[in-house]
């Protein structure tokens, strides 16, 4: 059971990382004059939607997770989002603001009742 919960948390984290990276990259690219709102990928389920469905399987569901779990999840997401974005900065991406990560992660985790 414990192992199962850990697996759910790992999948939740993976999807949250993808979701936050997407939010920050989209913001950076929006400053590009060629940016075009994505109106065609309606069929693709977003990482946030998937994360939300995994959250609904992680107990306790109705209240925020114990501080230890919440801290572990937040730290892991922040670290891995930072790593993903740093790769892109090294490749020449501009306008990526790493200071936004903590805030974005916090906001999303609150929305999903993790924090």
């Amino acid at each position: 059971m414990v192992q199962n919960r850990n697996k759910l948390i790992d999948i939740f984290i993976g999807n949250m990382i993808n979701s936050i990276v997407h939010i920050i990259l989209e913001r950076a690219i929006k400053k590009d004059k060629e940016y075009l709102a994505d109106k065609y990928r309606k069929e693709l389920i977003t990482s946030f939607e998937i994360a939300k469905s995994y959250r609904e399987k992680i107990n306790p569901i109705k209240v925020p997770l114990p501080e230890k779990d919440a801290f572990y999840i937040k730290n892991k997401i922040v670290k891995r989002v930072k790593a993903e974005l740093k790769i892109r900065i090294l490749k020449g991406y501009e306008n990526i603001n790493l200071n936004e990560i903590e805030n974005e992660v916090g906001k999303a985790l609150k929305e999903l009742n993790i924090l």
Partner: protein, 253 residues
């Protein structure tokens, strides 16, 4: 005096009787423009004309384009994709009322995309999914489909990220969701490789790389281990190409 000949057995007309000849009001036939569209069922053509009439009645527009699975043979479509090319700025509420009327009158769920002509052209040159969607379409007016390809690696990076969910959450996704993730990645791959973008070319690529028929994927009949291995390999290759492109692009600045 002119004479008209009618069927001898017609009831009510006797030989030599005087009749009134009246010109029947001509029903204008609306000609749809199409691209790569063969054998569109008459009922679908009728539905498209109905949709065009509803939209024309409600808002000024430069063009109306119908695309997506609705145009495929048969009736396995989920919804109907409609692109309205803007004439002027229209409030969202107007679009909602158009959608409601189309859904109500046709009984088919519609998905309306509202664009300027410039946005459509930009999409066609930079986003392979636009190219795929408009590879097969019907429209009110003729429009330029062939646009010079322009690779914007950062946009492709953003689009590709949407296919990453499949690797993280294979078990939770249904067959259609897996297919759309895969299609999104494959279309980006074909775009980068300068290959033809069409439904057939995507299905062919999936068959060659994944040894799978699209139907099997959509029915969720996939061997997870084998599929994920191949999927990851293609994802990493496409991602590496995109990030190299971003790097080279920024060096050229």
């Amino acid at each position: 005096m002119d004479q008209i000949y009618i069927n001898k057995k017609r009831i009510g007309f006797n030989i030599g009787e005087y009749v009134v000849i009246k010109l029947i009001e001509k029903k204008p036939t609306e000609k749809l423009y199409s691209h790569n569209l063969k054998d569109l069922e008459p009922i679908k053509e009728e539905i498209i004309n109905k949709i065009i009439k509803i939209i024309d009645k409600k808002i000024e527009n430069k063009n109306i384009i119908i695309t997506g699975s609705f145009l495929d043979k048969g009736f396995k479509f989920n919804d109907i994709d409609i692109i309205i090319i803007k004439e002027s700025n229209v409030k969202f509420s107007s679009l909602k009322s158009i959608k409601d009327e189309i859904d109500g009158q046709t009984g088919i769920k519609s998905h309306i995309i509202y664009l300027t002509n410039e946005e459509l052209l930009a999409g066609l040159s930079t986003d392979p999914l636009y190219k795929l969607m408009l590879n097969k379409c019907a429209s009110k007016k003729r429009f330029i489909y062939k646009m010079k390809k322009k690779i914007n690696y950062k946009l492709l990076d953003l689009h590709l990220l949407k296919s990453k969910t499949l690797m993280d959450s294979f078990d939770i996704l249904n067959g259609d969701e897996k297919y759309y993730s895969l299609r999104n990645m494959v279309v980006i791959y074909l775009f980068l490789e300068n290959k033809e973008i069409s439904r057939d070319s995507i299905e062919k690529e999936i068959k060659v790389t994944f040894s799978l028929d699209v139907d099997k994927i959509r029915q969720n009949l996939i061997n997870k281990e084998d599929f994920i291995k191949k999927y990851k390999s293609m994802y990493n290759e496409v991602s590496r190409k995109i990030l190299e492109g971003v790097k080279n692009g920024s060096k050229q600045k």
